[in-house]
């Protein structure tokens, strides 16, 4: 994930929010828990305090004394942290303390600074001589039969509770940590899922650039559909511009052919250096025209998509035309019947490929050229069907080692037959643009067999896979 990406922004912002909220939750929850625990603890201390107050009486010397056993054994156990103490607020008299307190009196914090609640309780934390963390409560009351205030203190060992709080905190950290990880995962998934249409759009735009499709199709989310529509318009207008430019290049090149003819003929009628120069330069012009026409053709092919061409009518038309062109030689150009077949591409490209192959076959054949098409039984790697078009002649054929050379650019194996020698090469290049190929083989008629492998649509007419 790159840092300058929507996915990164969404993930990071959501993750930061989640982490902050989770931390706040940890703090608040542990604080609340501690308070609850303290309240409970204080409740227990108050119960003990109530017992203490009921059991207290004054000795003859005026010092307080406890009657009976009101509290549990922890108050007997030395240094347990559980203590009680009753002492007159005014100094001078001995306080009564629990057996657990070895070195009375308890060292209390400054009581005047502590705010008492409605029942007169003061709550505080302290530590004893053994280092235990204690929590205590204090109330001031008069003992029956006395006129002065006594300070009643009960403390409990808070370390036991601390462990409880720690355990709670650990559980809290673990569960919130797990929750946090879960949230991060959810955020990651959510961002990916949410941004998936963007990825889809990107892939489709790539396809457009690669010439596989002509426009953005598919169901985009409501927020992205306007963008997709705008992009489609942009792509269409781009295509239109390219189309216009290509058409103009084509028109220019074709328009130049007539003046080139005129100049050639004129120059050939004259002798002298000027005429020679003219002939030479016209040759250059002719080559340029052919070069740019070739380029325009190629550019046109790079973006042909989505079209389908019925194969048989094209073969029939070409056979008819070639039979007419070669009628002096009495050639028979035959299209063998085959089930309906559709070529996944432009009609003009199919015409150029098959036309050149058939033209070539006619040039070499003695009496017969046979053309046939068939759907291949196996699907291609992309799961789409392929077809073969075979053009057979009964001419001299080519030895296997020369067949590959015949497909190379500008290669002509026999200069005696007319043609620029580009024919087979153009067939090969055009087929390659469709992912197919052109090959030469031995024909059953004795001559050459040209095989064209091209992408097909399903055999049934009108059915588009």
């Amino acid at each position: 994930m790159r840092t300058n990406s929507l996915a990164f922004r969404l993930t990071v912002s959501a993750a930061v929010t989640a982490v902050v909220l989770l931390l706040a939750a940890v703090i608040i929850l542990s604080e609340l828990f501690e308070q609850t625990v303290q309240r409970n603890f204080d409740g227990r201390l108050r119960a003990i305090m109530d017992g203490l107050q009921v059991s207290i009486e004054l000795a003859e010397d005026g010092s307080p004394r406890v009657q009976g056993n009101f509290a549990d054994t922890r108050f007997q156990l030395q240094d347990s942290g559980w203590y009680w103490q009753v002492a007159p607020v005014e100094k001078g008299k001995r306080p009564a303390v629990s057996a657990s307190l070895l070195e009375p009196p308890l060292v209390l914090p400054n009581m005047t600074a502590i705010v008492r609640d409605g029942d007169g309780y003061a709550r505080f934390s302290l530590s004893d001589a053994a280092g235990n963390q204690l929590r205590g409560i204090e109330q001031r009351l008069k003992i029956f039969g006395s006129s002065e205030d006594y300070s009643f203190v009960v403390t409990g060992n808070f370390d036991e509770l601390r462990d409880e709080v720690q355990a709670f905190r650990r559980a809290l950290y673990v569960s919130l940590g797990v929750l946090g990880l879960g949230l991060l995962g959810a955020i990651f998934f959510q961002v990916r899922y949410g941004l998936q249409p963007m990825k889809l759009m990107q892939r489709k735009l790539n396809d457009i650039r690669a010439g596989k499709v002509e426009m953005l199709e598919g169901d985009f989310p409501e927020e992205m559909q306007p963008i997709a529509d705008e992009l489609n318009l942009l792509v269409q207008s781009n295509f239109a511009i390219i189309d216009r430019a290509r058409m103009q290049v084509g028109n220019l090149a074709h328009a130049l052919k007539t003046p080139i003819s005129v100049l050639t003929n004129e120059a050939r009628d004259h002798k002298g250096p000027l005429a020679d120069k003219l002939v030479e330069q016209i040759g250059v012009m002719r080559e340029q025209v052919n070069l740019y026409l070739d380029r325009a053709r190629r550019a046109a092919r790079a973006q042909t998509v989505g079209s389908a061409t019925d194969v048989e009518p094209v073969l029939q038309a070409l056979a008819r035309t070639l039979q007419r062109i070669n009628r002096d030689r009495g050639l028979e150009v035959l299209v063998e019947p085959f089930p309906p077949l559709k070529f996944r591409g432009e009609r003009q490209d199919l015409e150029e490929m098959v036309g050149n192959l058939m033209d070539n076959a006619c040039k070499w054949s003695k009496s017969k050229v046979v053309v046939r098409g068939k759907l291949l039984p196996l699907m291609g790697e992309d799961g789409r069907p392929w077809m073969l078009i075979e053009v057979d002649d009964d001419g001299p054929g080519l030895p296997p080692e020369q067949r590959a050379t015949a497909m190379k650019r500008g290669q002509r194996l026999d200069e005696s037959k007319p043609g620029s020698g580009l024919g087979l090469n153009i067939v090969s290049e055009t087929a390659a643009m469709y992912g197919g190929r052109a090959e030469l083989d031995q024909a059953e008629l004795g001559g050459l067999r040209a095989i064209l492998k091209l992408p097909a649509l399903s055999g049934a007419p009108g059915v588009i896979i």
């Binding site: 005129v262 070409l318 035309t321 007419r324 062109i325 002096d328």
Partner: protein
């Protein structure tokens, strides 16, 4: 032999006409499809050279209209767009041959020669009638293997008659196919040329069919 050239580029039209005239054809010219169509519909031609990209009426339409009207003269189409779809359209409209631009004039002359010969039902470029042999490629005439010298008009006359060997060709037909449009049709010059030709050939192949016209046949076959 009368040939119609329909080409909208004036220079190319002139060059084609000149080359064809030099090769012994009588040439009519048209610069657009409509004019060309009119000429082709109303005059007999032995061949037509038809550019496909024409103003007013395009070449394929001109050709289709002629063929629908039953005009059978051989048509050679010229096309700048060297695509199979154009060739298919041209041939389906009734063309007999095509040449793509830019071309060499020799190519056109050879194609026109072949078209004329083929439409007359002659397979070979050499026409023979008894001791007389006419080589359409070299424009030469041999009698018993010896070359004889003919004027351009005499040659055209003999060529036309030998193309239609065994058929009676009327004087009007000869005039139409051998002379320019402004030729004075009442003149007797055809008879004069026929007489001169007979003398130069020295063999009895050129027969006069009284009241009908002329006919070339091997000696001894005449009725």
């Amino acid at each position: 032999m009368r040939v119609l050239v329909i080409e909208d580029d004036a220079d190319l039209n002139r060059q084609l006409a000149t080359a064809l005239t030099d090769a012994g054809y009588v040439v009519d010219k048209a610069l657009d499809g409509e004019e060309g169509h009119y000429l082709g519909e109303n005059s007999p031609y032995d061949a037509v050279i038809l550019d496909l990209g024409l103003p007013v009426l395009d070449g394929v339409s001109v050709l289709e209209k002629w063929r629908r009207a039953g005009k059978k003269m051989p048509v050679l189409i010229l096309t700048a767009r060297d695509r199979w779809s154009d060739k298919v359209a041209g041939f389906d409209a009734g063309a007999d041959d095509y040449v793509s631009k830019p071309f060499h004039m020799e190519e056109i002359l050879a194609r026109v020669r072949a078209l004329v010969r083929r439409s007359a039902g002659q397979a070979s470029s050499e026409l023979s009638c008894g001791p007389v042999t006419l080589d359409t490629k070299g424009a030469k005439v041999l009698v018993d293997g010896m070359a004889i010298k003919l004027t351009s008009l005499e040659y055209r006359l003999l060529e036309y008659l030998m193309m239609h060997m065994g058929k009676v060709v009327s004087r009007t037909e000869l005039v139409e196919h051998l002379y320019d449009q402004d030729f004075d049709r009442d003149s007797n010059t055809v008879e004069v040329f026929v007489g001169r030709l007979r003398k130069k050939l020295g063999v009895d192949v050129l027969h006069t069919i009284r009241g009908m016209g002329y006919c070339v046949q091997p000696p001894g076959n005449a009725d």
